[in-house]
Subunit: 311 residues, 2 copies
């Protein structure tokens, strides 16, 4: 039972209406790994520079994440992202992106990473995702994230890798953009027609929706008084979602399990945004996670109410 994730490991400088942080630990693979670590063994693959030190490794290793496939490039600099959010925290404004060691990244997975049952291809260039996908032939469940940048600049590569995964997790606007289809239900079906059996539409404050052959499911966002920093929320969602599926058996993924995984993904995303960067997720307790899961059931369930409709 283990999950391999490939994606960015980064330093992020973020400013929101609630504060700011300089060069804190971030990146899609980082947020994913920390969230997934509450459910499963996680192996993280990605490049860092020699500015990535014991403190940063320590955050991942403190959660039991296997960092032996993190490639540390001597003389290189770690991927850097700078951005800010205004009061509409659904919209990230990018102020600076420095690919650094990511510019020449060629993923080389150890045998152990190749043999994981579950693979998550975080949001990186789709040709790299496909390269990793092909190194992990044994994987029983493979999911990917992507973004508008790759839809606009590498659509054919993105479609190629989508055709080789079980599940796609992207924003609902990106599902529409990828398929050129304004109706989300039809757009999700068009993605499934490429190969995946499940499509997860991330919807920001509105939560997330799941499309499968068996039907549709939606879970609301958690009502929070303060959203300190939304960076990484989608990756934490993916970590909880994928970690739960790995924990419960990637051979046996059905709609009921996918729905529960959606709930654990939502739990982790809701914690992610409560503080900056990885601050909240990395220190979570069992009870906090269990209570938030119960809270998600509490905000979305209603009793049957058969009525004598007057028709």
């Amino acid at each position: 039972m283990s999950v391999t994730v490939v994606g960015s490991i980064a330093f992020d400088s973020v400013k929101t209406p609630f504060g700011e942080r300089e060069r804190m630990l971030g990146g899609s693979a980082t947020h994913f790994s920390l969230a997934a670590s509450f459910f499963s063994d996680v192996r993280v693959v990605g490049p860092v520079g020699d500015d990535f030190g014991p403190d940063e490794f320590g955050v991942l290793e403190g959660r039991g994440v296997d960092t032996s496939d993190i490639e540390r490039i001597e003389g290189g600099k770690t991927f850097f992202w700078q951005g800010h959010y205004d009061f509409d925290v659904n919209v990230a404004h990018t102020d600076d992106t420095q690919l650094n060691v990511f510019a020449d990244f060629q993923p080389k997975l150890s045998d152990q990473s190749k043999e994981s049952d579950v693979l998550f291809l975080a949001n990186i260039q789709p040709d790299l995702q496909l390269e990793v996908r092909r190194q992990c032939e044994a994987a029983k469940f493979v999911a990917l994230d992507s973004m508008n940048l790759w839809i606009e600049t590498a659509a054919d590569s993105l479609r190629a890798v989508i055709s080789e995964v079980d599940c796609v997790l992207i924003n609902d606007a990106e599902i529409r953009q990828l398929t050129n289809q304004s109706n989300l239900l039809k757009a999700a079906r068009a993605v499934m027609a490429l190969g995946p059996r499940a499509v997860v539409a991330k919807r920001g404050e509105y939560g997330a929706a799941l499309f499968t052959e068996g039907g549709f499911f939606a879970i609301p966002g958690y009502p929070l008084e303060d959203i300190a920093d939304p960076t990484g929320a989608g990756d934490s969602f993916a970590g909880g979602f994928i970690g739960y599926l790995d924990m419960h058996g990637p051979d046996e993924v059905d709609d009921a399990m996918l729905r529960q995984a959606m709930a654990y993904g939502s739990v982790m995303a809701s914690f992610n945004v409560e503080s900056f960067g990885t601050e909240r997720v990395r220190g979570l307790t069992k009870d906090e996670i269990s209570e938030r899961f119960a809270a998600f059931r509490g905000i979305s369930q209603f009793e049957d109410a058969p009525v004598e409709v007057r028709a």
Copy 2:
């Protein structure tokens, strides 16, 4: 057991990517009445012109709606709205509004309408809403709808009438606008601080959310392949929501009943948008309504999944 509604009765000309209709029966009170008529006795209050004839009355009366408080102004013309929707059906573009008989409307309720247990103040000028509210002192549950126009032009009047109702149903953006508070949870609490015990945030394709002292609840939008015409969806939601509360006892409204009412509201809204104007809702059957309610449970429920989290 009856519901009184005051609001617009209109002719609508609507164009969407799926077709168009000229001068079809519309208006907030009309959509509300038809949806509520599946659950309760409905009395509709509002003015029409002498262009409003037996065909239009027949649609309402065909669903058992009591039209005796519809004031027909000889020589007057019925309220007219013309608008269109592009592919983003969440946004209505108004091309023409003719208030006509609504310009001088002074609501005069019959004794029977004044004695309803439940009152719905559809989206009209808030001073008119307050006037009607005060004519219905016996009402046990009162709800209102409003819109950005009144927030911008009559905020004090709107706050005054909000302070005298039990429930406010408006768009989530309008809840933020009304309270000048970007966080929806805080914004809803600010509305409740004015008096109401429940706030319903309408969220278009994302469904609707309910805020009460007891907590938060959200129900997703129904996944539809084709949305023919969203006009009146919010009013049909309110009709199902309020009709269900009246049917089950406005003395006993609690959070569980409000959640079920949210589901029936969502059912009626989802039908509303499947065809133009009132075409779909007015012809619904018992089975269609029951099946759609069950479908809403189907798309939003998930099983408990306690896990041994590794924290």
